[in-house]
Amino acid sequence: MKNNGWVKKFRSFVFENKVMLLFVVLTTASIIISGLPLTVIAGSVFERFGRNGFLVLALLVPVLAGLGLNFGLVIGAMAGQIGLFFAILAGINGIPGMLVSTLIATPLAMLFGWMVGRLFNRMKGAEMIAGLILGFFADGFYQLFFLFVLGGVIPITHEGLMLPGGIGVKNMIDLKGYRMPLNDGSGGETVKGFIEGAFDKLPIGDLITAITIAVIVYLLVRGVMVMMKKSTFGLRDLALGIAAAVSFSLLQIPAIKQLLKINNLNFLTTLTIVLIVIAVWQMARLVYAFILHKREGTEKTDVEAKSPSDVLSQSPDQKFLQKSDSRRSLLILLLCAVIYGLTYIPPIRTIMRFIRIPVFTYMLIAGVCYFTRWLLRTRIGQNMRTVGHSQVIANASGINVDRTRVIAMMISTVLACWGQLIFLQSLGTVATYTQHVQVAQFSIAALLVGGATVQKATTKNAIIGIFLFHSLFVVAPEAGKQLFNDSQIGEHFRVFISYGVIALALAMHAWKAKIKPNLGISAVTGKNDKDNSKIAESS
């Protein structure tokens, strides 16, 4: 019996994750065939994760709201490129350059997202195909804008950016900036518009300073709220305050300041830091649970006196929860220890030392993950889930379906715009007319490889998917060269794969939907309504 159950479970696991498993096999085989050293592969996969992570995560919200995979990502990416162009044109460097790009691009992305959302509301059920075609359509406008409007309508003089005739933008924008004469008459030159690596190469010290300032601002706002008697200070505020004070004072020590000038960590260090943080956090939870447990033990007699039935119905649950919570914490601690132990195995250690982690970019990706989860806990998130499951029910429950869908599209488009900016600052050049074209396709393929479907996608799917998909991307040309003596075949192979994955996932979705009949679409009174409407329609 038990054995049978396991077989069944295993089978359903394989069935549910067939796309992902297929890719694990494919990727492993390609890695072996390509003969590339793992250090090289791991290094470039982690680099690509930093570049693409944000874009893939931008897909999650529309899936949640039942809009399917957002092929409209392309439009967000266009907004990002428009913002970046103007920041470079203005000759702003580094972080301020990125901020200006974001400031220009975000309102544009919001507007585009709103329009796309409105359009999708008019063609419910065909959002994906609409998004795909819309991407091609918008590309036309994009080209008109960059080829003619810039320079042709809006006068622009910038030798580096514009085509020789002065109308239209060159098909390559260099984020390493352009040499410009100084205005002070000295005849010297300076580089303007240097944005490459603005996020990737942000020194850690600056980052910590910025976070500390953000925390202080947050605490000030909280303080104002407390004074307005809208809230009270809690334990969390205290902890944040202490952390901010400690980090601020530590930063004043010159040695530490010097140390934190580096802008990236290797994976080994990152992992160690993350493990330590998790371990400390879980220990704190354990201690907290222990204190709570003791306190409750003393209170218990009171509760029992009040009403025996209450205790019966609730207390075992609570106790169970706490016990499993503590057990989970212990398990996580153990896992941390094991993982840390694994890093001492020599080959793993070498590979990990080769991987560079751009700290700020990875933090931003973690931020989107957190944002998506946070959104799920809010009212708008719950509304999105309801709309995603059944528009009929959402409507009947007084949820504004169309508005919810538009908001989901706006969030996705804005995230796509930011994601494209992060991608570009990491890459260092912009192919003006082609950079955005395949953004949606590759992001969607990555998400699907991670086991997501048209109806369900999680941050976990996104992260696994990016690693698998981009591993294959990295090794495919070399594997093609080894197998067929032609790296071009590997190139073709990866394009084929990305389309293939999307087609496969969509076909499987259609197949699944056919098996599972949809929820009733009838209005208030079900069947009889149909008769009425038929009468109405034919007479």
């Binding site: 706002v221 909280r222 709220m225 809208k230 809230s231 806990r377 809010t378 009212r379 708008i380 719950q382 509304n383 889930r385 309801t386 499951h389 059944s390 009929v392 029910i393 959402a394 009947a396 429950s397 007084g398 949820i399 009949p517 929820l519 009733g520 009838s522 209005a523 208030v524 009174t525 079900g526 069947k527 009889n528 309504d529 008769d531 009425n532 409407s533 038929k534 009468i535 109405a536 329609e537 034919s538 007479s539």
Partner: protein, 532 residues
């Protein structure tokens, strides 16, 4: 002193494109009572409820006449949300539940309680964090109120149907200020014990002062729990009765009521029906048609007979015709003139000279974008290769033959059209029905199955279609099976009428049996059970 009425709908009239579906109907509900609302399909119950809930169907078709008062105050309800705010709730027949959500999530859908946060204070309520703890406590309370012992964190998917119904009820009860609950055929999908349980719960809810409108076809349940009953027929108010002053038989009679004596003028009957000449025989016949499942039918239909299948929507009568034609999967034995049909093969019935006029004229009956001619010859062309001529080894359409035949049919059935090339989509309902009939006749059938022959067509056309069916039977000796929700129609034409309830034959009646017999049969009661 009379208690004030919780709901009073007065002189409600409603037209759909000139078709009057409600005429001066009133409905009065006292607080804390269970008020049964009864009537056949098409009597206007659903329309009345749609008006009460302000459904868009009503307002997009020109609104309605009459007044609605809630607790003595006149109100205007222009959308379901407003109805909800007035304390009116509905327990749907097809559940409005999300399978992937938990019980609590379903109960609270659209009405979640939130905890304010820093962001929600400044950017609006939609950024509040959901307070699941207090919500599951609310859900628990509502579930306890109806005595339901399910976990509030269980998922809906995989629950038995009875439980889902209780979750629906719990959701309505949890709404603030609920005063009136509408139960739309709540027991139709439940097993017997579940249904009994549900009636208990309804009583319990009513005892808390919440009024209930109970829409059902089951007379015994009405007698069991209701205080009052309002009966509608053809959009008219027939009677309002206190349950204690009435009987099952009386309600059944009131529901059916003979409207017109005969729809069709009799013509000479020279047929001899014999039990030896059986045209169609069904044995243990089952059809898996969603919503109209047939669950075991045995009947012998004599050659030359007109037999009717009647009964309420959803009971399975529609499934019979669709099953025989092979449109849905079926099991059992079907014999046509002694030959057994291979139920696996599509088109088998057509090859055995059975023709079918579908109830779904626009969906399964007609190629709306094609001409009358194509529609008329289509089946015969496909099955018998008629209207074709050979050129070498290729068969091509014989245009002149098909045109001549269509012209003949147009004259025979009096199809009003601009010519045989007119698109069927642009014809009126009655004429579309005639085209369907013409196609069936082109097959030269020996058995003709007609489902809902007069649905959605006006009274004049109705008479023509029915008379023509009668003539076909009398003159050409075609055996006819009529499946219809309109009893009058069946009683005007048929030799025997089988009433289908829950996928089985309840009773076979003669057209001149009493109204009460028909009423009782349609509510799923057997005669013996009532007299007992």
């Amino acid at each position: 002193m009379e208690q004030p009425l919780i709901l009073s709908m007065e002189n409600i009239s409603k037209e759909y494109f000139g078709n009057r579906v409600l005429n001066q109907v009133s409905l009065q509900v006292r607080p804390g009572e269970i008020h049964a609302l009864m009537g056949e399909n098409g009597a206007g119950k659903s329309t009345l409820m749609n008006i009460l809930f302000g459904m868009p169907v009503i307002h997009s078709t020109g609104g309605f006449d009459g007044t609605i008062k809630i607790a003595g105050e006149e109100v205007k309800i222009s959308n379901p949300n407003e109805a909800m705010h007035l304390g009116i709730g509905m327990v749907h027949q097809e559940f409005m539940l999300i399978p992937d959500f938990t019980v609590t999530e379903n109960i609270k859908v659209g009405r979640e309680t939130g905890q304010p946060t820093l962001l929600s204070e400044s950017l609006g309520k939609s950024l509040e964090i959901m307070d699941w703890e207090s919500m599951s406590a609310d859900a628990r309370r509502a579930l306890d109120l109806i005595g339901m012992n399910i976990d509030d964190y269980a998922r809906i998917a995989g629950m038995p149907i009875g439980y889902k119904q209780f979750v629906e009820i719990a959701r309505e009860i949890d709404k603030k200020g609920i005063r009136l609950l509408v139960f739309d055929e709540p027991t139709a999908v439940l097993t017997e014990s579940e249904a009994a349980n549900l009636l208990d719960i309804m009583r319990r809810i009513a005892n808390r002062g919440i009024a209930i409108i109970f829409i059902t076809h089951r007379l015994d349940e009405v007698m069991q729990v209701s205080d009052q009953v309002t009966i509608l027929r053809d959009g008219e108010l027939v009677a309002i009765k206190e349950i204690k002053d009435t009987s099952v038989v009386e309600i059944a009679e009131l529901m059916i009521g003979r409207k017109v004596d005969k729809l069709v003028d009799q013509c000479e009957d020279t047929r001899t029906l014999s039990d030896d000449a059986i045209a169609l025989e069904l044995k243990d016949y089952e059809v898996d048609m969603p919503g109209e499942a047939v669950r075991g039918i045995d009947i012998k239909i004599r050659e030359g007979e007109i037999i009717g299948f009647g009964g309420l929507a959803g009971q399975g009568k529609i499934g019979i015709g669709n099953g025989i034609m092979g449109l849905y999967e079926s099991r059992g034995e079907v014999k046509v003139f002694g030959q057994t049909l291979d139920l696996e093969k599509l088109g088998e019935a057509l090859r055995h000279d059975i023709a079918f006029v579908s109830e779904d004229r626009r969906g399964a009956g007609l190629l709306l974008g094609e001409s009358i001619e194509r529609n008329v010859i289509f089946s015969a062309l496909q099955i018998h290769n008629r209207f074709t001529s050979r050129i070498g080894f290729i068969r091509v359409l014989n245009r002149s033959e098909s045109k001549a035949h269509t012209q003949e049919m147009i004259e025979l059935l009096d199809i009003r059209c601009t010519g045989s090339q007119q698109k069927t989509g642009s014809l009126s309902g009655g004429n579309q029905q005639k085209v369907c009939l013409a196609r069936a006749l082109t097959m030269n059938p020996r058995i003709l199955i007609v489902a809902e022959p007069t649905r959605g067509i006006d009274i004049g056309a109705k008479k023509l279609v029915l008379e023509h069916l009668l003539r076909l039977n009398r003159e050409q000796n075609i055996t006819i099976v009529i499946i219809s929700s309109e009893l009058v129609e069946l009683r005007s034409l048929c030799d025997r009428i089988a009433i289908i309830t829950e996928g089985k034959i309840n009773t076979i009646l003669k057209p001149d049996d009493s109204d009460a017999d028909f009423g009782l049969a349609m509510s799923g009661l057997k005669k013996e059970m009532v007299t007992k």
